[in-house]
Symmetry: C2
Subunit: 413 residues, 2 copies
């Protein structure tokens, strides 16, 4: 009897995590000889434990699957559920009875670090109990911090969004060019600065903004920062500075935590402010120059308006490749992208042991960080530029993007 397929999404959403789901489901539905039902698990492994799963085939027939491809966010819903380290924990037995009940032979999990940890544990438990279920991870994260893959689906679109938005903010900042001003843009990335580094792509010409870029890979010193700002203002009247939310002092303290040493809000809580807001106040206080901060916030991971065609295609291809690997008998693996050397950008797909990937983080290489930690060099630009190429036509309806909604999200008829 044919085994069934189940695919889930986990962790924070991206603009193309649904394209990976599309890839998995479309490819699985092509192999009717090999697979039975193709399920989606709702709200990840946590929802599945509560019996939440849906048959995906009707979505292809109705055309909804095509719409899912360009819908940001996690169509199936997500979870942040960490499986216990101890494989003797009863939750594993519970999950595997659930797999048995659904006749699952193939399990696909689209996510980042933590999701790969789930794939690792499930595949190890499967080996332990001699289950034949195959577990495959599909990479997804705007943070681009997974090891053993050239980059991760989700990064290209987020990078394109960041670079575009920073270029637009630089234009906005240049409007009053007879007055000095500083604009601080805070970009997502707690531990790795890939996305912040992408702001360098906004630079159109020598001396164009952003003139300063700070990543968490380099310890951040507020005094050096102030000197950098001061000397940049001598060169450009309207300075745009990009910082990672995760910049820190090198001694385990995030810059955004410095504010809470003193500040207390109306409710008596410690003032929780972003790094950008903290630095805005610092610049105002020390340099007395006009300054504002802008937090790019969730649009970095959910904007459909700056989808990278390359990223979208790779996200779908990663999902489809996962199906092929599972058919070939692989398990405990993550789909990985390998860049083929040459003048034209090209990637090949392969797999890597998921246990070597989970719980590790890939940082921006030190040699790509220049200007004593205040700039990004040409190495990164050559790496990132191909990832933001290609326009995507998102279906529109009544002037707005048309997205796919899971039935359970819609009002009862």
């Amino acid at each position: 009897m044919k085994k069934n397929v189940i695919a889930g999404q986990s962790g924070g959403p991206t603009a193309v995590i649904n394209a990976s789901l599309y890839g998995v489901v479309c490819e699985a539905l092509k192999h009717k000889d090999s697979f039975g039902t193709v399920y989606g698990m709702v709200n990840g492994i946590e929802g599945f434990l509560n019996g939440q799963a849906m048959d995906m085939a009707p979505l292809q027939a109705s055309g909804e699957l095509e719409l899912i491809r360009t819908t940001p966010g996690s169509y199936l819903g997500s979870c942040r559920y960490k499986l216990p380290e101890d494989l003797d924990d009863p939750v594993y037995q519970e999950l595997f009875s659930q797999f048995a009940e659904y006749g699952i032979g193939y399990f696909f999990y689209i996510g980042g670090n933590d999701s790969m940890d789930t794939v690792s544990k499930l595949s190890r438990y499967a080996r332990l109990v001699k289950s034949e279920i195959r577990f495959i991870g599909i990479p997804k994260t705007i943070d681009n911090d997974l090891v053993l893959t050239d980059h991760t689906p989700g990064f290209g679109s987020a990078a394109r969004y960041v670079a575009t938005t920073v270029r637009e903010i630089a234009l906005d900042a240049a409007v009053y060019d007879n007055k000095k001003s500083v604009t601080i843009v805070e970009i997502m990335g707690r531990h790795a600065g890939w996305l912040t580094a992408a702001s360098v792509l906004a630079r159109k010409f020598e001396g164009d903004n952003p003139l300063l870029i700070y990543l968490p890979e380099t310890p951040f010193d507020p005094d050096t920062f102030l000197q950098d700002v001061q000397s940049s203002l001598d060169k450009a009247a309207n300075l745009v500075v990009c910082i990672s939310e995760g910049i820190h002092d090198g001694n385990g303290k995030f810059i955004c935590e410095l504010a809470s040493d003193v500040g207390v809000d109306t409710f008596g809580h410690k003032m929780l402010t972003g790094s950008g807001k903290y630095l805005e106040n610092l610049v105002k206080d020390r340099l007395g120059v006009k300054v504002r901060s802008v937090e790019l916030n969730v649009s970095q991971r959910c904007s459909s308006s700056m989808l990278s065609g390359t990223d979208l295609a790779e996200a779908a291809a990663s999902g489809a490749y996962g199906i092929k690997c599972a058919l070939d008998g692989e398990t405990g693996k993550m789909v990985a992208l390998k860049r083929i050397p040459g003048d034209d950008y090209q990637v090949a797909y392969g797999t890597e042991d998921v246990t070597l990937i989970c719980n590790r983080e890939k940082e921006v290489p030190a040699e790509w960080i220049t200007g004593n930690g205040s700039d990004i060099g040409p190495g990164f630009i050559s790496y990132a530029r191909p990832l933001i190429q290609g326009d995507v036509k998102v279906p529109m309806e009544d002037g707005l993007p048309k997205f796919a909604y899971r039935k359970s999200m819609l009002p009862k008829k």
Copy 2:
């Protein structure tokens, strides 16, 4: 001898203020029999006082003018310079000698309230000194708060950006639909809530987010707000609330000012936080539910990714219409848009006395605000929906939007 034309931009930029400049310049260049040189004033009236002006004709020949059309921000730079009330002030004489020096016969100023004040004063001074220079205002503001015009160029694109982004944020918020959460989105608009009201367009079906929308047109009571949030959470697990930055208590105090009663930051400054951040803390403190706030910030006025085709075309047409009015001998007028009644959206262009427009603000009509000030009704939707229609293809280069830069912004060769 033919008189010359000068066009300037003033106040905050929008995504289509350059399309209006494009409209003025293109139309002026068509009338070579009537006009001499077509100048752009750099950094508005303030820059012009310092002799900053540029010949615009070469930009058409080079193709740059076409690029200016879809470039956000003020290509010519802007200023926030308020002319003195007293028409005897020497600055008027100074300006008019500058006009004489440049042979100006026609003056176009693209801007909002304050810019119309400039047009009003200059045209009144001209009458006083019997100058024949004609002064025409071209409306521009994302705030949509100018009176005597159906709407303002700039609003449609900003509204489309807001509605799209709120729809995407709602998807992002729905990802963990097994947990309750509140997302507060802060939208621009200090005194008028037009742009915040546009968030209602994000709603795709009955019961879809944003479930609550608060404008500055209605006094805001934090306790009623908390009750609204609580009862909405019974209906939707993941609530999205949209608020204007300018919501206030009805007694002259902005909600964002409530925080600064107590909070003091690291530098001893009163804590300056947005209304969204204040309400985030309030919900956390009182309702104990998972909550975050998102400030849409400057992208509302400078994003080129959600340009409304209708808005872009009307911005250019307003500029072109201004030229025709000046040729017809009008002065002291602002171009105004009139909606032609009927099933299909159509506008006609006319002019209104600029002195009746400046220093006034148009609010969202009370009958369009529903739910005791917590929602927006169908009247607004019918009004706003046509303004966000139509896609625009922004030229791309190396994966990013290609924008026009004034020569003085580029590095010296």
